[in-house]
């Protein structure tokens, strides 16, 4: 019973103190002549198209074709056949960073002959989903296909949803034994808003 009384007294003190504080505050800021203002907050969310290569390096280093075969094969799945290059276990990964779905196409600055050189070189790519359902329209190509300097649509509808917005582009190069020199090319991904 004593405890109950003590709590009631404390509660009353707290309420009175709060009321006094409120009165002092109102007195300070004044109430007379105050009109009601209405503020409207407006904002617009712009549509933004954005893509990036989150994995943008494929580096097999330097190497040579083995003694017996006439060519070596370099893949971005960690395989190097008949050659002394470093293995590369990851291809390029493209991500949709925007807030709209995009159509994605690829072009290469060089095809096999210019990129690799030598007799019967090959330069191929294939596309897969890094995150499931990143491309609702279906991917192309899904098997090793010669890289083209023309535009290749790899996905007509790439999602921007964070959990499903990444595609992998794997590469394969056949290096003939008579190819030599430092090689390079640029792969360009174009994202078109849909």
């Amino acid at each position: 019973m004593k405890n109950s009384n003590l709590l009631t007294t404390l509660a009353v003190i707290v309420v009175i103190t709060t009321l006094l504080t409120l009165i002092v505050t109102v007195n300070k800021i004044g109430m007379t002549g105050k009109a009601t203002d209405t503020a409207t907050a407006n904002f617009t969310i712009n549509s933004a198209a954005s893509i990036s290569f989150i994995t943008n390096v494929v580096n097999w280093g330097s190497g040579s074709v083995d003694e017996i075969p006439t060519a070596a094969y370099l893949y971005t799945n960690g395989t190097v056949v008949d050659g002394t290059w470093n293995s590369v276990s990851q291809g390029l990964t493209l991500q949709n960073d925007g807030n709209v779905n995009v159509t994605v196409s690829l072009t290469s600055s060089k095809a096999a002959a210019d990129f690799v050189g030598g007799t019967n070189p090959e330069f191929k790519w294939l596309v897969s989903e890094n995150e499931s359902n990143s491309c609702s329209s279906g991917l192309n190509p899904t098997s090793w296909t010669a890289v083209s300097t023309g535009s290749t649509t790899i996905c007509s509808n790439m999602s921007y949803d964070d959990s499903k917005d990444a595609l992998d582009i794997d590469l394969m190069v056949k290096v003939p034994e008579d190819a030599i020199g430092t090689k390079g090319c640029v792969i360009t991904a174009t994202g078109t808003a849909i």
């Binding site: 893509i51 990036s52 390096v57 494929v58 097999w60 925007g98 709209v100 090319c185």
Partner: protein, 373 residues
């Protein structure tokens, strides 16, 4: 002669991360004679030194001029649109405003890499002569008893006002009409749009796939769109089970399942019994898994196949699963064949190779002797 060593350096890399962002991604306008409009584009990139080429393409590109040809690191530019008095072809015309990362030609001879480009789109809707309506239609998946919401978007694309009479017909996957939903007639002015919504009560529906056709009648024309949607129930279908297993050792048993539920299914596991005439030989449980709505997945369990002999066995797969507070189970009776594991004998292979080599050797010796003679 010793083969020449061919040295080749392959590098596909980029000077920096290539995140390119363009705002706005798309803009849509309705055609107006001699319309002039500026579209301001903002370009962001992580590297302030990256150069970009700007370009425009598309079937109305002759009516667009860009105030800049290139940008460095980002910034903004204006695409000025000046439409003609008339465009003959009605419908959707798209102009692409492109921002392409510029490749340094000198780098092409050295390690080179990736680049990105973005194409923002300007959609120009040229009205069709007379009355013309475009529709968009959507429906959501649901569980039995939950509402399926149909959303119907109607846009007048003609140069005349139009009265539309929309209707939605719902069909089973066998093509039987189940329900018909009507809307009030509505008037749409030129370029005017309308979004309508109706709810389908699914209390008396069975689970399965359905489709709906939205028909928008206007004058003597009709615009139709169809969608499919699924009505689910808490159910896991067993699609397939392991059919061929090797005897001996610890072996894997796979149960492929598919959810017919529009929510997550939790704690799904299978109890598997394998038996024959002589009795039960294995009785085990799989690891529990979770399935997202309508997901197809494998449930995997392991068992000791040491006591099995090659031959046919029967199996009983009982699935247990939970959706929300409800738990269910289902059973499938099937058969599985156990086969003997083929072990490759290395001595046999070695003997074969030695035999072949011996034959070749004898053949060469005989040939050599004949030559000498």
């Amino acid at each position: 002669m010793k083969k020449l060593v061919v040295i080749l350096l392959f590098l596909i890399l980029i000077q920096n991360l290539s995140a390119l962002r363009v705002i706005p991604a798309k803009t849509e306008i309705n055609f107006k004679s001699n319309l002039e409009k500026d579209f301001i584009y903002t370009v962001n990139h992580l590297n302030p030194n990256t150069h970009f080429d700007l370009y425009a393409k598309g079937d109305l590109v002759q009516y667009v001029t860009l105030d800049k040809e290139s940008l460095t690191g980002g910034g903004s530019f204006i695409a000025h649109l000046k439409l003609p008095e008339e465009i003959e072809i009605p419908g959707k015309h798209i102009i692409y405003i492109g921002i392409r990362e510029k490749v340094d030609e000198e780098l092409l001879e050295a390690p080179v890499g990736t680049a990105v480009a973005i194409q923002s789109v300007i959609i120009i809707n040229v009205p069709y002569p007379g009355k013309y309506v475009e529709t968009q239609f959507s429906a959501n998946d649901a569980n039995i008893g939950e509402p399926v919401i149909f959303k119907l978007f109607i846009q007048s694309r003609g140069d005349e006002d139009v009265t539309v009479s929309p209707r939605i017909d719902v069909f089973s996957d066998k093509g039987d009409m189940i329900n018909s939903i009507s809307f009030n007639d509505r008037n749409l002015g030129k370029d005017e749009k309308l979004e309508l919504q109706k709810t389908l009560n699914t209390a008396n529906f069975n689970s399965g796939t359905y489709y709906a056709i939205a028909s928008v009648n206007y004058g003597d024309k009709i615009s139709e769109k169809n969608v499919s949607f699924r009505i689910g129930e808490l159910s896991l279908k067993i699609l397939n089970t392991s059919k061929l297993i090797k005897v001996g050792g610890i072996r894997k048993f796979t149960v492929q399942v598919e959810s017919s539920w529009n929510n997550k299914i939790e704690g799904a596991y299978a109890k598997i019994v394998i038996y024959n005439k002589s009795g039960e030989l294995a009785n085990f449980k799989t690891v529990p898994i979770e399935l997202e709505a309508w997901e197809k997945k494998d449930i995997i369990g392991f068992f000791d196949a040491s006591d099995f002999e090659p031959g046919n066995y029967s199996d009983i797969v009982t699935l247990f699963y939970f959706g929300g507070s409800a738990g269910k189970s289902s059973v499938k009776f099937d058969s599985v064949r156990f086969i003997k594991e083929r072990i490759i004998n290395p001595y046999m292979i070695l003997s074969l190779v030695l035999g072949i080599l011996l034959i070749i050797n004898v053949f060469l010796l005989i040939k050599n002797e004949r030559k000498k003679k």
